[in-house]
């Protein structure tokens, strides 16, 4: 005996078309999301990579004869990163401070002494603007100020390399505000970039991507810090 079907014959007849129409948009949206995540990941990698190049480039430019070279390099870097995002660049020349935080003068080279910002090149906005980075406070000290004792600024390069250091000693490669030699100088580059808001964001989802990132608690605003030690002594640097 033929049993009654819940679905009518008419409804069953259209199942292939229904499946096609319902599934395809989901798969297309999923493909777009995967592509956007790929672009986002590639951008993060690129920013991290180029951040170091900028620091290295300026740190190796001790023979430049004026600040103009440093400023031009920072502007070119901002233009490069600004092709796909909004944001801002900060560059600091870091040397040894003359005194510790407690006021003790750094006379002996082996004394623990915090690094300080000797020259500051701050607030270089990308050509398209700073984006949401304008709402984020710069975390590099002002020119002439020391880094905080536990600030992450320079990599610790092994056990007790330059005399006394923080107690307890940090692990190798942990970034700390460590002792710094009188002739040593570093370039620290802080970049803040607001991804997905640039002139060529390459995102399929556009603003939808920002919503998705916010939902996943992943911010499209990225902050990166790179530090590079100079190959020349501080006394040999012309523009420093």
């Amino acid at each position: 005996m033929r049993r009654a079907s819940i679905l009518s014959a008419h409804a069953r007849r259209g199942s292939a078309a229904v499946e096609f129409v319902v599934l395809v948009p989901f798969i297309l949206v999923l493909s777009a999301a995967i592509w956007d995540l790929r672009v986002f990941t590639a951008y993060r990698t690129d920013v991290a990579r180029e951040n170091y190049v900028i620091a290295e480039l300026i740190a190796n430019g001790g023979t430049w004869t004026s600040d103009a070279s440093v400023e031009n390099v920072i502007e070119a870097a901002a233009e490069r990163l600004g092709a796909t995002s909004h944001g801002v660049l900060h560059v600091a020349l870091v040397t040894r401070a003359a005194a510790r935080h407690d006021g003790t003068a750094c006379v002996d080279d082996s004394d623990w002494c915090a690094p300080m910002v000797t020259r500051a090149f701050y607030d270089y906005a990308f050509p398209g603007g700073a984006g949401d980075c304008r709402n984020i406070a710069r975390i590099l000290p002002d020119e002439g100020d020391r880094f905080d004792v536990n600030a992450t600024v320079l990599p610790f390069e092994g056990a007790d390399p330059d005399g006394a250091g923080p107690d307890p000693a940090p692990s190798v490669d942990q970034w700390v505000s460590r002792n710094i030699q009188p002739e040593e100088w570093w370039i620290v580059v802080d970049s803040c970039s607001h991804f997905g808001e640039g002139p060529r964001s390459r995102l399929i989802g556009g603003r939808f991507m920002n919503m998705a990132l916010a939902t996943l608690d992943v911010s499209p605003v990225m902050q990166r810090r790179s530090a590079w030690v100079a190959i020349d002594d501080l006394s040999e640097c012309v523009w420093c």
Partner: protein, 207 residues
Amino acid sequence: MARTETAVVYLKTCLPTDRVVIAHSPMRTGQPKPIRNRPTGAMAVEFCLVFLASLSLFGLAGELFRVSMVDQTLARVTHQSARAIAGLADGDVGCEETIQEAFDQNVGARWLFDRNGNDTVDIAFSYGDAWPAVTLGDEIGIAISWDDDPEAGIDWTDATTGSCGGDGSWLRLRSRFAIQPWFGPVRAFWGEMHRQHESWGRNTRTF
């Protein structure tokens, strides 16, 4: 059973329990037509439609994955090339040779860019500010230029054939690869695409 030719098949895994297909042997001639509760051929049509749609979408996803791999590999190797030149201390090694070595030593680059299978990435070098011109007949195009004097502004106009710049100059590499999608519908839609990347390095010796 009185009628051994008749079999009743319950397709419990494919159909709801109230939908039963009764299959009759061809020998039961003269009997009423078997009851069918699906329109003729609907399963085949559905299978074909879903199969083709899935195939197209998987093809599209595969192409996106391939383009992604090309993008990331090109970015990484271009960066490695610039870094290799920047850190080069051996005065006997040339600029182009260093870039060639960086590409050849990267397994991913050889796999993706070595179109003619000669175990090396054939690089067409050009010198100047423009992006290198490449077609599907080429493997990789690289344009080299540098800036000798950042104080006067960054313009990337310094270029001499066979050279990567002088000591202290700021080097720029621009690499480009032409990619053609393999999957027919995607190829028809996109045709030839160019993927490109640029990277910097600071020369520590004169080439």
